[in-house]
């Protein structure tokens, strides 16, 4: 049996799974979850054992608030540990192990590349009601991002998508470069979930909420649901999962890029 300290995976030979895929569920094997501060940052303790990543590295996070949120994920597990609900833990593992072995430049390039196939830039012409909905819901967000970053993006009804100027891509590349590696993992994660760089930047810049970003990402689905009806076990299931992952990614980015200095203001009475 795999050692309890590992966050989940076993070598390929033992269970024939991909090397980096943890088992979906296992029994809760610890009573108490606590946090401690080590040399590299904050660590999670399951009883007396220190949590490790799937690649057996010591699990350390730079932010106390993030450590508390991760500890809460572990403590919320009841009889079985449902790894697929522990999004913050997964994000931390990805940041620590970097299984895709991408450096900062590659991560930024992958993120900005999404702009070429950004959801909110791809418009339909038929049906007119959906085209109208896209215009009313997506145009304001695109305009906000264009204004905030001083770029031109636009939208397109062609199958090739919008033509993104090199200067626009450069602007985003240099903006993303200001984030540290951990936050970038989070940003790239949010972009792949929402299928949109524009929605992700709006969200991370706190212009829209997670719920709104997810709604805008799923705009066509919402339109079809309103026309044809909602199927709870599919639509709501996917909606909740997308919300959970996007929320986790956003929180991860903010917790990894904040400085925890509290500025005390003088009370003016």
């Amino acid at each position: 049996r795999p050692p309890p300290a590992a966050a989940g995976s076993c070598p390929v030979g033992l269970c024939g799974r991909r090397a980096y895929a943890p088992p979906a569920e296992r029994k809760r094997f610890y009573q108490n979850v606590s946090i401690s501060q080590g040399e590299g940052g904050f660590e999670i303790n399951l009883d007396h054992r220190k949590l490790k990543t799937p690649q057996a590295k010591l699990f350390t996070v730079p932010s106390e608030a993030l450590a508390i949120a991760v500890a809460t994920e572990w403590d919320s597990q009841k009889d079985t540990i449902k790894f697929y609900t522990m999004h913050l833990t997964t994000l931390c593992n990805t940041a620590l192990d970097n299984p895709t072995q991408r450096n900062k430049t590659q991560l930024i390039r992958a993120a900005v590349k999404f702009l070429e196939t950004d959801t909110v830039c791809y418009r339909v012409e038929e049906p007119p009601a959906l085209a109208e909905l896209q215009k009313n819901e997506w145009d304001p967000v695109v305009e906000w991002v264009e204004k905030r970053y001083n770029v031109t993006i636009g939208s397109s009804t062609s199958i090739l998508g919008p033509n993104i100027a090199a200067s626009t891509k450069e602007t985003f590349v240099s903006h993303l470069a200001s984030y540290n590696m951990w936050a970038l993992q989070g940003i790239e994660f949010v972009i792949t979930q929402l299928k949109s760089l524009i929605l992700s930047m709006s969200l991370i810049d706190r212009h829209i909420t997670v719920e709104k970003a997810v709604l805008l990402s799923r705009l066509e689905e919402e339109y079809q649901i309103r026309r044809w009806g909602n199927v709870e076990w599919a639509h709501d299931y996917d909606l909740c999962e997308l919300r959970a992952r996007t929320a986790a990614g956003t929180l991860f980015v903010h917790l990894c890029s904040e400085s925890s200095t509290v500025k005390h203001k003088l009370l003016q009475d």
Partner: protein, 107 residues
């Protein structure tokens, strides 16, 4: 800044979610104490548009969304996707059959 509503409402909902997640000793959990402490620290400010306050509120709303979505997702999973496959006995029972008993076991 995103339209978030009243911070107090977000705080109450977030604490409720933490209660669901934690169980009996939720008030002693690090998350509960951290959230309360953070809200108290940012409560007193002379500015109505305090940026740190808004950032905290956004973070709280995001965390609330995370906890709530996970809970709802798990509930949907349990209801629709959690039952797994039927056992051979159940399948036989669907059409009114019973599996044969072999006194010495199989083979």
């Amino acid at each position: 800044m995103a339209a978030l509503g009243a911070p107090l409402r977000t705080l109450r909902a977030l604490l409720r979610e933490l209660r669901h997640a934690a169980g009996r000793s939720y008030r002693d959990s690090p998350a509960y104490r951290h959230v309360l402490a953070a809200f108290r620290a940012h409560r007193v400010t002379s500015e109505k548009l305090c940026r740190a306050q808004q950032e905290l509120h956004f973070q709280a709303a995001t965390y609330l969304c995370l906890l709530r979505s996970i809970r709802e997702h798990e509930a949907l999973h349990r209801e629709y996707h959690g039952r797994g496959e039927r056992t051979p006995q159940e399948v036989a029972g669907l059409v009114g059959f019973r599996l044969p008993q072999q006194p010495g076991g199989k083979g």
